[in-house]
Point group: C2
Chain length 416, copies 2
């Protein structure tokens, strides 16, 4: 396919206005958004997106998981479409850009093609995946997961929120349950633009992240059992201090991750101490170790080092220790041709860029199992996300959408 | 004064029966007791204690803090009494012996003197101090603290429990507020028998602890502030992990305490991590460091090492750190003559013994500021206390009461 000319750009002002318009639906309490999946606000956001899509001549498809597919025709009705999108749902105290940018940048691609009367061979389908966030209905990336065959639809329908309302019932209640079989669509490729949700691009002054891999994840819950005893009347040599054992294992986790620098990471975000009283030596510590790497073998090696090293520490301290794997997924390697299309687009458009490994999960990580996939990332201020203070600049949004535009259009084939 | 003959013993069966009888009042849910201060059960326990005291000819005094003083006359009505006792109140899930043993062993001394028609020169006063536990009305050792001039009575009366009920009102409600001015009594000496609430005596097979000192205490609340960020998308070098900083400071606390072995101890029993989510690097850690030593200078040195070393750790990791002293009291050195009386008694009676430093606070620690004071300790199973499973053997109780008997009677002066 011929590459688009470097002066071909999306309309950054229009993209920004649409982001601000969408952010009015399901406002948060601190300048961000609370537009959680399958709420009335989610339904309202979907209506606005559908209206915008139809205004530029798209036809909307809807599957039984509520995934929305706005199709902009190509010149070859037999050609598989190029899909582009992300998610419109937000965290309960979420930002205006996490997910939303990727959907509205897809819309902006179609609007720009429409402005310029450019045709592509392959149709382009702008997608809104249902329940990426997973806060109301865990797990995250639920509907893209069903699409990719990771979960069954029946299982997803039976998930309950904190009030006992089922996913399937709520999807029907808001009126966004379609007839289309989930996962039946075949894709020529899938592209997703997302804010980085990390600090690297901003810190290095790069405008574009070319996402080559998604980190694999391993969550191990560690339970250390010592003996509750009085902080005053128990001599140091007679203590079985589960809190001190935890401290030593946290240091081990750090060392193990650093020994796999620069791509691997490790930390414990969840820590509970029992009985958590100022004058009682902790008799129990429960904490979850989060290891990530783009290399499956490195994850397995880090898990082993945690189990071996943690057991040794516990043994030396007279503590009992158990390990339970409570979560995980394999690393993702995105499609070489799609990744190259993203990198070439950034280069052609003159945007500074670097390769990135996505540390968070995204719909693209599941769709990568069904279709050639790649991701574009743009910076976000201070790496902050899942927070109403999440912020990006209009320029960053436009640059990301430009790169997405070029990668999608080149893959879909401009008709000369 | 002449020492009592080594065949002079209390009645261990009677002491045990009284312990079991008292334990029927305010039973717990798991074999222990819930006889919290100023509850109806506390009042009922006081009535039983008074009845037993009066049966052996004592007259009961009662002060405005509800402290009970059962006086058994000596031969010299001008001589200052020797006081002996502890507390009848329990933790909400407390044991049958913590405090109660010390009061009923005092009663058993009087019963034994009465059995044997032995007279002492100094009167003996068996005391029940109100609210030693401090769980319903903090702080612990409240009424002995008012007696010793540590707290004012007005302040104590205004203390509120979790339901907003005032100490002074509840003391009157249960009918145990006396007329006597608190702290007006002068003592020749004070002795307290208590279970160890620690593991040393049982581990070393010793029957008696001769308590020479009470540990001083320092509580420092440490707040480490880093930056909340995603565990996946934040590279290791860009993290400000308050949880890891805490781990390093916990290791420092252990090293500082061990460098003052064997008497100093240190640990953190209270640890809170924020936001405490599996995939968020801790942005804040708040934990309380508990240092204890019988030497005031050692406590000050340990506090300084925590502040200096903790600040250095925080500085290296890009974390902010603050320290707040949230509790503390000075070490206690018990009266040499009283301690010697306890040690001599154990020796004379043929009980194995060792010196102990009390790690927990006791009424004797405050009364030591008003009168020559010492403590006797007996083992408890596995060091367990403040727990319904708290346990001692009848033999341990009898040995402790025997030693208390001899120390009290020698100090009070047997009339030949």
């Amino acid at each position: 396919m011929a590459a688009p000319a470097s002066n071909l750009r999306i309309n950054g002002d229009r993209l920004w206005e649409s982001l601000m318009e969408m952010a009015k639906i399901g406002p948060g309490v601190a300048g961000g958004n609370n537009r959680q999946t399958l709420t009335d606000a989610d339904g309202e956001g979907r209506h606005l997106f559908q209206k915008w899509c139809e205004e530029v001549g798209c036809t909307m498809g809807l599957d039984q998981m509520g995934n929305m597919f706005a199709r902009y025709e190509g010149t070859d009705p037999e050609a598989l479409p190029v899909y582009v999108g992300s998610h419109l749902d937000t965290q309960p105290t979420g930002g205006k850009y996490d997910g939303v940018l990727g959907v509205l940048a897809g819309l902006e691609i179609v609007r720009s093609l429409n402005d310029l009367s450019i045709k592509t061979k392959h149709p382009i389908v702008v997608t809104n995946w249902t329940n990426e966030e997973g806060t109301r209905y865990a797990p995250p990336m639920l509907a893209s997961g069903v699409f990719a065959g990771i979960h069954t639809q029946d299982w997803a329908y039976d998930l309950e929120d904190a009030e006992g309302l089922k996913f399937g019932d709520e999807l029907k209640r808001i009126g966004w349950c379609g007839d289309e079989e989930v996962g039946a669509r075949k894709m020529h490729a899938f592209f997703e633009l997302h804010i980085e949700q990390g600090p690297i691009l901003e810190a290095e002054g790069k405008e574009i992240g070319v996402v080559t891999h998604g980190q694999g994840l391993s969550w191990t819950e560690v339970t250390l059992t010592g003996k509750e005893s009085h902080t005053g009347s128990t001599p140091m040599p007679m203590r079985k201090n589960a809190g001190l054992g935890m401290a030593r294992i946290l240091e081990l986790v750090d060392a193990v991750a650093l020994s796999n620098a620069p791509d691997a990471v490790g930390a414990a975000g969840h820590i509970d101490i029992y009985p958590n009283s100022r004058n009682v030596i902790p008799g129990k510590a429960v904490f979850t170790v989060d290891f990530r790497s783009p290399d499956k073998a490195v994850i397995a090696d880090m898990e082993n080092k945690l189990r071996e090293g943690g057991s040794a520490i516990a043994g030396q301290m007279g503590l009992d220790i158990t390990f339970e794997k409570v979560g995980g997924f394999d690393p993702v390697k995105f499609d070489d041709a799609c990744v190259t299309a993203v990198r070439d687009a950034a280069e052609r458009l003159g945007y500074s860029h670097r390769n990135l490994i996505s540390g968070a999960g995204h719909d693209a990580c599941w769709i990568n199992q069904s279709a050639p996939t790649a991701m574009v990332m743009c910076p976000c201020v201070d790496g902050l996300s899942h927070n109403e203070a999440e912020d990006i600049s209009q320029e960053w949004a436009a640059a990301g959408a430009d790169v997405l535009f070029h990668a999608v259009v080149e893959t879909a084939g401009i008709v000369e």
